[in-house]
Amino acid sequence: MGLLSPIYLLFALSIGVLILIYLSARSRSTVEVSSLLLFDESQIAVTKARFLKLDLLFWLETAALAALCLALAGLYLKMAPAATGHRRRALVFDLAAAMGARDGGHTRLDEARAQALRMVNSAAPGESFAVVSYAEQAQVERYFTSDRPAVRAAIKALRPYDVASAPAAINAALMRVRDADEIDLFAPRLPPGVASLDRADAVRLHFHQIGTDENNAAITALDSGTPRVSPGHCTVRNMSSSAVLVDLGITLNGRAFDRAMMILPPHAQNNVKFGPLPSGGLVEALIGTPDGLMADNSRYAYASAGRSLKGLIISPDPAVRDDLARVLRAVDPGSIVAAGRADDLTPSIIAKSLGGAVPDIAIIHDSAPTPIAAAATLWIYPPARGPFPVRANLRVSQMDDRTDLGPLTRPLLLGPTRVLSLPEWMNPIAHGTGLQQPGLLTLAAFGVNGQGPQAVIAFDIRNHLLMDPDMLDALVLTVDLVKQLNRPSDLQIVPTGSYVTLPASGPARIREPDGSTIVVPPGDGGVLRFRPLYAGRYDIMVGGHRKLVYANYFDAAESELSVKPAPQNGPPISSALDLDSGVRAARVQPLTLALAALAMMAFLLESALLVRRALRGGVSLV
């Protein structure tokens, strides 16, 4: 016996109110009389000490209220399940990065697999299993089946990803197995979405906490600096509750450049400075000391080559041109910038300004496309006659989060914004909301097509928006996009789990960090789109060209490998002993209807008594 929603027991306070009303009604009618001799004929017993006299109406109301409270609180009975039967059990696995952490000689997922396999092996005949996994998204590996070898194969085929688990993913996973009689969740910690589950679902859910406390150090950030100008920085954080030794190595284009040994106190971080780098190229930071999680032990960054960045800025507003030039100079102090209105900038003027070279980047603000070719293009507040169809013009919008960095510390209120129809090959970078605009609004996006890297910012940056200290997130977004556009076209550095788009005329062979190779056909529009789910280097051969994608992983919640006890109000926690002994969870039988019927009967009986009293003693007695 138990309660599905104990919080609703608060309604039991109404019984207290009823008792107060009852006592108040009793005390109200106390009358002092000259003598009780006058009332001897009433033949009513003297009452001196009884606190709650036997008033049938009162007790009926109390019983009805108690029954209603218990019905609201979801009183249920645990019924013993049938020894054999056709029960449906769902095995839900967390495949986020923390499940890849090593506890001794095996990973947490190995432990989860072993528990699940024991469960499958000891299952009663006729019992069916489903295997569902989730990380960034939910995946049904095997729907309900009583084919044990298939279930075992599905369990054994599970692999952890180097991504964080999304709250929506666990909910989606549970939704897909909502028909299950029992749900066994294997995860290192109780996902937030599960803690807020409806109690009826939570009762069916059995949480198997996987893993033990492990030390872990992670590289949380890597900045290459500017070659020969400014040093780079690498941030290392101790994610565990004990001090760890960290051996940090920095390589430039595969050659060792710097090395640092440090002991990090619990939950402390160190910002390691290196360089300046002698030349541009791929910078990799690597923690050499073994720890619980390998995925966050390496990180990649790109240092632009020594040549000066040549930028072209087109805007009708001179203030905007000035601000954007400052941004380019901040990204590359040696950059050469040509700026002007679209009508004023002819190819000859540009060639003269940039020394005859093709611009590395063209930033086009609120202007139509120009015939001038550039290696990469950043569109800011593009007009309707631009490359992206404009669905609506907003006077005000708000930026809420970035896909690569997460939610902003505080929402950023922006000015005029255009709602753009973006092509599929572009990946959203920043989201927000607009006034009287339903749904999410894409405020910035990045992608690569046949014309090279393209990025777009949907909001206007007039009135020195980028230089406003209160609009720092807008400036950071612009700088990040400029840096991303300025990278070599055959090299991308992305966070794990994000989409990578590449121009492709045919199928691409992708060699993953673990050495396996997959073939991915191109999508619509000659664009290859895939998600790197493991940290490391992806070697892509497409159309005879080689392109490299480096995936960085870090998530504070996943990298924290300490095992926290599950909350008291969460679903029941099962141990390995339960699985071995074949103990089955009882079937839940809610008593809501029975209690509601009981309350209804009490009210009906009370009504009948009232009618009887009214008929016998008059309406004034009721």
Binding site: S34, L36, V46
Partner: protein, 307 residues
């Protein structure tokens, strides 16, 4: 004292009220023929002024009453008997228990005090010694207070302080009060007892038996409130508390129960009346303060309490 009570009591000293009492005389057995030379019952005042009769002398008669003139003329011995002018002590006992104060709107206590004062005024008109006695008080602690005897109507105002100061409280212990009253060893007289008599019948029966044994002429006036006699509580559930005993009873008043309560009041009155009639006690019931004038001028003469 509530304003209602003050107004009620104030009437007892209004000239117009007293004027209506001027012509009334107490209906008491005042004068008895005293057989000279015998031990007479009651208080014998030696000789009177008014000659009643003659009789032959018999041995043992008091020679002081021998009619010497008759003997000289007729040579026969006669003794004279006189109608003795006797004064009768009138004691007016007022119940001051808590029950006399309820129901408050009925003002039973005010009515009892006015009646006591009126009877005292009438008694003073005959130059009889009159006193007021109040009794009541907390449980197990008798509150007893009495004025001195006054004989003239000019002294009527002397009763005012006591009538003003006495309050309703405590239980009615009538037997103890009467016992205390008789312990003062006064000659028997007339005792007016004013009370609601809402006590068990055995209590007032014991009290009356003591008075009868002491040869008192007893006049009982039962004072009840009009609401009390008709049932002041409307239909509903009540928790009743006896103001004297503190006993609590939970009662649901229905029309049936209300009728039963009215019948109970009538039964209590009838019991008292029956007991009084059987023991030669004059009984009168004063119900409701509004009926004061009617009670004094019509009811009391009808019952012979006054003439």
């Amino acid at each position: 004292m509530t304003p209602v009570v003050s107004m009620m009591l104030a009437r007892a000293f209004e000239p117009s009220f007293l004027q209506r009492l001027d012509n009334l005389v107490l209906g008491i057995k005042r004068a008895r023929t005293v057989r000279l030379g015998r031990r007479a019952l009651g208080r014998v005042q030696g000789s009177g002024i008014e000659l009643e009769s003659f009789k032959d002398y018999s041995e043992g008669d008091d020679l002081r009453f021998l009619d010497w003139n008759s003997m000289a003329r007729l040579d026969t011995l006669y003794t004279k008997s006189y109608r003795v002018e006797r004064e009768t002590e009138v004691s007016i006992l007022i119940d001051c228990s808590a029950s006399m104060g309820l129901p408050v709107k009925d003002d039973k206590f005010g009515l009892a005090r006015v009646l006591g004062a009126a009877l005292a005024y009438v008694a003073l008109g005959e130059n009889d010694p009159v006193r007021l006695v109040s009794f009541g008080g907390p449980r197990d602690q008798l509150f007893y207070r009495a004025t001195e005897f006054y004989r003239r109507r000019e002294s009527y105002a002397s009763f005012r302080p006591m009538l003003t100061e006495i309050k309703c409280s405590g239980a009615t212990d009538m037997a103890a009060a009467i016992e205390h009253f008789l312990n003062q060893r006064r000659p028997p007289g007339v005792a007016f007892v004013l009370s609601d008599f809402l006590i068990p019948s055995t209590h007032y029966k014991v009290a009356f038996s003591h008075l009868i044994a002491a040869r008192y002429e007893i006049k009982v006036i039962q004072v009840l409130g009009s609401r009390e006699s008709m049932g002041s509580l409307g239909p509903g559930a009540y928790r009743l508390r006896d103001c004297e005993t503190g006993e609590i009873r939970e009662v649901t008043i229905t029309p049936t129960v209300a009728d039963a309560c009215r019948r109970r009041v009538e039964q209590l009155r009838n019991d008292l009346y029956q007991h009084c009639t059987a023991n030669g006690i004059t009984y009168a019931a004063a119900v409701g303060a509004d009926n004061l004038d009617n009670f004094l001028v019509r009811e009391l003469p009808r019952l012979g309490l006054v003439r």
